[in-house]
Amino acid sequence: MSRTIDQSIHDLREMDELASKASPIHAICAAAKLLVTVAYIMIVVSYDKYNMSGLLFMVFYPAVLFAVSEVPVTTCLYKLRFVLPLVCAVGVLNPFLDRTPALTAGSFVVTTGMISMVTLMTKGVFCLMASFLLMATTRIEAVCSVLRKIHVPSFLVTLLLLTYRYAAVMAEEVGVMTNAYSLRAPGQKGIHYSAWGSFLGQLLLRSMDRAEELYSSMLLRGYRGEFYYTEERAWSAKDAVYAAGWILFFIAARGVNLTRLIGMLVTR
C-alpha cells in the first residue's frame, strides 16, 4: 500500500487512540466539552477583525487543554497541515485592500489590513485547534450521543459515525486498488486520468458491497435505525464546573481586553 494511504489510515486511527487516553480532560463528559467548544468558537469568531490583542488571550484555552490532556501540539499541527494553509489564506488579500496605517515600528508601517489578516488567521487556527481538541479528547460515539440528545436527526448522526468509522476501510480499499494499478503500470506516477472513471466506479461498487455487508451485520444485531451509544454519561458537578468555568472565562476575556490590561499593569 502506498505510504500516503498508509499514513492516512494511521492518522485516522490515531485519533481514536488519542480520544481513549485517560487524562482529566478525557474524563469530562462529552456534552460539557461540546458546549465549551461551541462557546469558544462563537466567542473567537465574534472578535473584531482589528482586535488582535484581545484575541491573543484566547490562546489560553487550547494551551491549557494541550497541557492537561497530554495531546501533543505537534500532532495537532501535523494533522491540520492540509487545512491550516486554507484557513491562513482567508485574509491574505487584506493587506492589499486595506492600507490604512495603524502604527509604525521604525520605518515599517503596520496597516490595519495586516492586523485584520493576522486576526483572521489566528481566529481560524484557534477554531481548528478547539475542534481538534474536542475530537482528540472525546470518543466519536460520545460526540454522536450528545448530538442525538440535542435532537440532531438520527440519520445525520449515524452517517457521521459510520463515515468516521469507515473512512479507514475506504482508504484501505483505495490502497488495494492503487497497488493493483501500479503493479500493472510500472514507472507511472499516480493514476492516469484516463483510468479515473473506472477507478472511481470500482471504488463506489466496492464501497456499496461493504456498506451492504455492514448494514446486514447491524440489522442482524438488532439495529432499528437508532444507535445506542455506549458512551452516554450524565452530567456531574465536575462537568458543570468545567463548562461554567470556561464559559465565564471566555465571556470575561471577550468583555475585557485582558492582554492590554496585563500590558498596562506590567508597563506601569
Partner: protein, 246 residues
C-alpha cells in the same frame, strides 16, 4: 428448528438462484452447507436471515415455498423475533466489527436488545471468559490479528445468545494455527450450527451432517462421513475430496 419447504428464490423472475430446496435442521445439529461457487449457499443463508426473500420484504424478488424457524415463518412481521434466534458470523470480520474496540462491538447488539450498559458488560465478560478471550476486551479491532478478530466476531454474535449460529467461511484467510483455534471453538459451542465453507477438512472436523448444493438445488444431504468421502459425488458437483482423503 429450521425447515425449508420447497423453497425457490430469484432476484429476477425466471432466473432462480435456488430451486425447490427442502431440508430440516434439528436443534443441536451441526450442518455443513457446501457447494461450488454460485451453488446458492450464501442465498440460503440470506433468505434464512431475512436479508433477501420473504423476510426482507424487498419488491421485485420472486419467492415460493416456506421457511420456518422454530415454528415461525420467515416474514417481515416475524423477522425481528427470528433474528434473535439466529446469529450470523460474516466471512469478512472487518464488516462485522464496525466499532473501535471488541468491547464496544459486543455491546452494540446487547444495547440494541434493550439491556442496560451494566447488564451488557456483565454479559460480555461472561462470553469472553467462556471463550478465553478476556485479553481482547479493550483492544482495538484494527490492532488484533486475523484469528483473534474472527474469534471476536464469533463472540459478538454469541453475546446475543442465539439458538442457531450461522457461519460463512469461518476459517478463510486464517493461518493453520488460528484455523485450528476456530475449529476447536466451533466444536465447543452448544448451539445448532450451520457452516458454509469450501474448506471441506474443516467441515469434516466440525459437522456431523452435510448438505451439498449445486445450481441452486440440493444434490445430496446426509452424514458428513458419507458425503465427504464420496469422490464421485463431489467431483460431479465441482468439488473435491477433503485433503485428508486425497
Amino acid at each position: 428448528m429450521i425447515r425449508f419447504e420447497n423453497v425457490t428464490f430469484a432476484y429476477e423472475r425466471g432466473k432462480p438462484v435456488i430451486q425447490s430446496v427442502s431440508f430440516a435442521i434439528h436443534r443441536g445439529e451441526t450442518v455443513g452447507l457446501i457447494g461450488a461457487n454460485g451453488a446458492g449457499k450464501s442465498t440460503v443463508m440470506k433468505i434464512l436471515l431475512g436479508l433477501a426473500g420473504p423476510g426482507a420484504g424487498a419488491p421485485g424478488q420472486y419467492f415460493d415455498g416456506k421457511i420456518l424457524v422454530d415454528g415461525m415463518e420467515v416474514t417481515p412481521a416475524n423477522i425481528a423475533r427470528i433474528r434473535q434466534k439466529l446469529g450470523f458470523v460474516l466471512q469478512n470480520s472487518d464488516n462485522q466489527m464496525f466499532m473501535p474496540t471488541v468491547l464496544e462491538d459486543m455491546l452494540f447488539g446487547l444495547l440494541n436488545s434493550g439491556m442496560t450498559r451494566k447488564e451488557a458488560e456483565k454479559k460480555v465478560d461472561e462470553i469472553l471468559q467462556s471463550l478465553g478471550l478476556m485479553d481482547l476486551k479493550y483492544l482495538y479491532n484494527h490492532k488484533i490479528s486475523g484469528g483473534e478478530k474472527r474469534m471476536a466476531a464469533v463472540a459478538t454474535v454469541l453475546a446475543m445468545e442465539p439458538e442457531v449460529l450461522l457461519m460463512d467461511e469461518p476459517t478463510s484467510a486464517l493461518d493453520p494455527y488460528n484455523r485450528r483455534v476456530v475449529i476447536r471453538a466451533i466444536n465447543n459451542l452448544p448451539q445448532t450450527r450451520i457452516i458454509t465453507s469450501h474448506d471441506l477438512d474443516m467441515i469434516y472436523d466440525t459437522c456431523s451432517r452435510v448438505i451439498l448444493l449445486t445450481g441452486g438445488k440440493v444434490a445430496a444431504d446426509g452424514p458428513a462421513e458419507q458425503i465427504l468421502k464420496d469422490e464421485e459425488l463431489l467431483m460431479a458437483n465441482r468439488m473435491e475430496l477433503p485433503l485428508r482423503f486425497q
